[in-house]
Amino acid sequence: MFKLRKNSIKILLVIFFITLLPLIPTGMSQYQQSFYLAGASSIVPQISKTMDCKANLKLEKNDSNYNIIIENRSEETYAEWEIMFYKEKQMTLTNLEETTNGWSLKGTNLKPKEPVIIPINLEITPQEDEEKYLNHYLEKFVFLSSCKIKES
C-alpha cells in the first residue's frame, strides 16, 4: 500500500541532514580580533651646504680651531636660526649646547646679507689623526649639520 521509491528515500535523507546541519558543532566558532597597521616614514633633508632656507653655512679652520659662518641670504628679512650638529665619534664640540643627538646652536635677528662668524671649539681625537681626517670631518661635519631659518 505504501510504496517508498528509491528517490523518495533520497529526498527524505537530504531533508534529514539539512534539518540536522545547524546542530552539528563545527568547532570553528572562535572570537577573534585583527588589528591593522599602516605607516610611512620620510627623510626630509635639511642638510646641504647651501640651505633651502636661504642661509649659507660654512665651516672653516681658524688657526687651531674652527669657525661656523652663517649668512642670511634673504634681501630684507631678519632671521631666527638654529643649527644642529649630529654627534660623531671622535668629534666633540665643547662650547655648544648638547642635545640628545649632538649639539645645537641658536640665534636671532640675523641681519640680511651680513655673515656672522661663530667660533666653535671642535676637538678631534686622537689629535694625531686630525690632519688625516680633517677633510673627511669637514665634509661630513657640514653634511651632518642642519639649519632651520625662519622670518623673525
Binding site: 500500500m1 572562535q30 572570537y31 577573534q32 580580533q33 585583527s34 588589528f35 591593522y36 597597521l37 599602516a38 605607516g39 610611512a40 616614514s41 620620510s42 627623510i43 626630509v44 633633508p45 635639511q46 642638510i47 646641504s48 644642529m84 649630529y86 654627534k87 642635545t99 640628545t100 643627538n101 649632538g102 645645537s104 661630513k140 653634511f143 651632518l144 642642519s146 632651520k148
Partner: protein, 164 residues
C-alpha cells in the same frame, strides 16, 4: 481480501485516535520558564597610540588610531634620527585572549634602504582587563653619508588576537 484490509486499516486509525485522545486527557502540562543569555563579551581593541620618542627637529605627525587600525607618518631629518610610536591594546571584554599572529613588514622592495623599522611584540596572553603595549621605531641610518634618492618607506602589518 481487499475489503478486509480496509477494515483493518480503519481499526488501526481509530485505535491511534483513541490513544491520542487518552494521552491528551491524562497528560499534565509541565511549564518550564527559564532564560539564558550569553554573558561572555569579546572586546579587544586599540586604546591609544602616541609618539614617545622624537629626535629633535623631527616630526612625528599625529598618530591616528581607531579600535582596530593604527597609522602614522614620520618625518626624519638627519642620520641617527628616530621616532618611536607606542600602541596600547586593551582587553575590555570578559574573555581571555591570546596573540595568534603578528606580521609587521616594511616595504623593503620599494622603500628607502636608509630607513629602518623595528618593533616590539605585544603580550602573548592578554587576560580580561589587561593591557599590553608595543612599539614601532623608525630610524634614519646613522651611517648615511649622502641623501638617498628614495626618501620614504612604508610599513604595514596585522596583529590578531583570538579567544583562548
Amino acid at each position: 481480501m481487499k475489503k478486509t484490509k480496509y477494515i483493518l486499516l480503519l481499526f488501526f486509525l481509530i485505535g491511534i485516535s483513541i490513544m491520542s485522545i487518552g494521552y491528551s486527557l491524562l497528560a499534565t502540562n509541565l511549564t518550564l520558564d527559564a532564560n539564558s543569555e550569553i554573558v561572555g563579551e569579546w572586546d579587544v581593541r586599540i586604546t591609544n597610540m602616541k609618539a614617545i620618542q622624537v629626535s629633535p627637529g623631527c616630526d612625528a605627525g599625529t598618530p591616528m588610531f581607531t579600535d582596530t587600525t593604527m597609522g602614522f607618518y614620520a618625518k626624519l631629518i638627519k642620520p641617527g634620527d628616530s621616532i618611536t610610536y607606542e600602541i596600547t591594546i586593551e582587553n575590555k571584554g570578559t574573555m581571555d585572549a591570546k596573540l595568534e599572529t603578528i606580521d609587521i613588514t616594511p616595504d623593503e622592495e620599494n622603500g628607502s634602504e636608509r630607513l629602518h623599522y623595528e618593533n616590539t611584540t605585544p603580550k602573548t596572553q592578554l587576560g580580561k582587563g589587561e593591557t599590553t603595549k608595543f612599539t614601532i621605531t623608525v630610524t634614519y641610518d646613522t651611517s648615511s653619508t649622502e641623501i638617498p634618492e628614495t626618501k620614504s618607506k612604508a610599513i604595514t602589518g596585522t596583529i590578531e588576537y583570538v579567544q583562548t
